[in-house]
Amino acid sequence: MWLSAAKIGLAVLAGWVQGGLTPKETAAWAKIAPSLAYVSDHGKTTAVCVLIDDSGLFLADKDAIGKDTVEARLDDHVLTMKRVGDDGATGLVLLQASPWTFGEGHAAYLPEKPALQGQQLFIALPSGPIRGEFVRSDKVAVLLTSHRLFPMNELKFEAPESLVGGGLVFTQRGELIGALNATLPNQSANTQESRSASGFGSPLPPAALGGGGGGGASKSTAMVPQFMVRQAGPGDLTVAYTVGLGVMRRVVEGFKSPSHEVQHPSIGIYCKDSLIKGALVTRMREDSTAAKAGMQIGDIILSIDGITIKSQIGFASTMLQKEIGQTLVVWVLRNSMQVRLTIPVGKA
């Protein structure tokens, strides 16, 4: 028994010294690897997608996938992936794999609660996994392509040599956090400190993934393809964002629905900050519920359901809490008069 314990200890030590996966990390990655398919284009791996339903539905980043139909590899199987769903607001797409045998892969699932500060993560990239660390879940971001505001998760990781756009983020328990939506420009000033604090100096060499980490070598680690080989070495620390858990849950549930459609709550208006308090309506869809309820361009939204709106960010944040079908009581300022509107929440 003592000999076995010593062997495990030596393996763990060897893993750290080599900068590889610990047995715990190897075991954690083993939960994630069967969920992933690697998209290739002319023999080059370009993107990674994750199985979210046993019926062969995969989720991926739209920009990473590019085309409507792509070829992908799951373990040793070559699959054809066809785009069947598209959420323009978050930039995520749904792919249907064929031919598909029910239960062929292991569907990933979302966590019950947001990750905690400092929690260790895996980021699955076409070139292989890298370590990451969860920073916070209270950021909000405006996606300028869709003009939608979403709560965001912030995470950080050591920038690899390869590109990270469209990478998929997992906890070490194997839960899907989301796809890398965006990154801040590199902040090399705090790299050394952050690295030493969070242990980012150690990349994940293929030797460790393939069993060099010790006792965790198994079928799942053998599934890690050889193209994950990359040069190890310290890189800049990168701050990245994924959409928050609530939005991610809405996307996954929408994709898994029979229509594969994601529905975000909306009353169909666009606002910017007003000079005084409130959100100034600058654009409105003609068929929107707001237009039908009598809202006009130039109105300043003062409150929604009794909640004071201070800015357009406040408006969008409040709308995030609403459900489709709910009815809102909205007070607007129009020509120095306050007007009460009743607006049902529609879908974006």
């Binding site: 971001a141 756009g165 909306s266 208006i269 666009y270 910017k272 004071t308």
Partner: protein, 250 residues
């Protein structure tokens, strides 16, 4: 905004101007955000004061008014005025508070991200003011369930003075006294003021801009561009403190 303009705005808010003057003033107020905000506050004030008139004019009596004041928790006028004693003490206390909590001058804002092509992409992180630490702060937008009844601002004081001057008979006596003193002492707390301004979060009550006078806690907002970052291949993100020109849908 000078005192004269402020008085003109008050007249406009209380509809004591001719239609021509009102048009001119409205136009002037629209061009000046500060004036527009002040005008909006005065109008809110007027609405709030209207709600004070819950007792019909023909039933007004000194006794009823006194009872109403006591019901609202406002104390009647003191027997004699100690304002000349209180003023220097209060000034000294304010000076001590200011010196103790003034922001440290050596700290400079730190630029974390900038883009030359758009001034709204310039982001700075400014250390929070020590005053903000001692002031109850929360952002109503991010935590709408809680509300803070604000202390009346200088503009509100001016408005109240105006009300006292022109509508004195509708203003409770004790409130009149507080306004004339020019200072709201600690006994006259914000919650009572909020009540007078008819602030309510019931969905059927007119919202009052004074509710949102709570000090906002700055939380940087991330703007995510469609443009890719050449180093990472992901969309480019920028942190900004101000997003006033960003159009957001919902």
């Amino acid at each position: 905004m000078n005192r004269k303009f402020e008085d003109e705005l008050l007249k406009l808010a209380f509809e004591e101007t001719t239609p021509e003057q009102a048009m001119v003033m409205e136009r002037a107020a629209q061009q000046d955000p500060e004036a527009a905000q002040a005008l909006s506050q005065y109008r809110q004030m007027r609405l709030g004061l209207r709600e004070l008139a819950e007792v019909p004019a023909d039933q007004l009596s000194k006794e009823r008014l006194r009872e109403a004041i006591l019901t609202r928790g406002l104390k009647p006028r003191r027997g004699f005025n100690l304002g000349w004693v209180a003023m220097p003490a209060m000034a000294a206390a304010l000076a001590v508070v200011f010196l103790a909590y003034r922001p440290h001058p050596a700290v400079t804002p730190q630029v974390v991200a900038s883009r030359g092509d758009n001034p709204f992409r310039m982001a700075t992180i400014t250390p929070p003011s020590p005053l903000a630490m001692v002031t109850p702060t929360h952002d109503i937008d991010s935590n709408p369930a809680k509300t803070v009844a604000p202390r009346p601002s200088a503009a509100t004081m001016v408005a109240l003075r105006h009300v006292v001057r022109h509508h004195g008979k509708h203003v409770p006596e004790a409130l009149d006294a507080k306004v004339k003193d020019g200072i709201f002492d600690p006994e006259f707390d914000g919650s009572r003021f909020a009540m007078i301004a008819s602030v309510s979060h019931s969905e059927n009550v007119l919202p009052s801009p004074s509710v949102s006078a709570a000090v906002p806690a700055p939380n940087p907002i991330v703007l995510i561009d469609s443009q890719k970052d050449g180093n990472t291949g992901a969309a480019r993100a920028t942190e900004v403190d101000s997003s006033s020109n960003v159009v957001v849908g919902g």
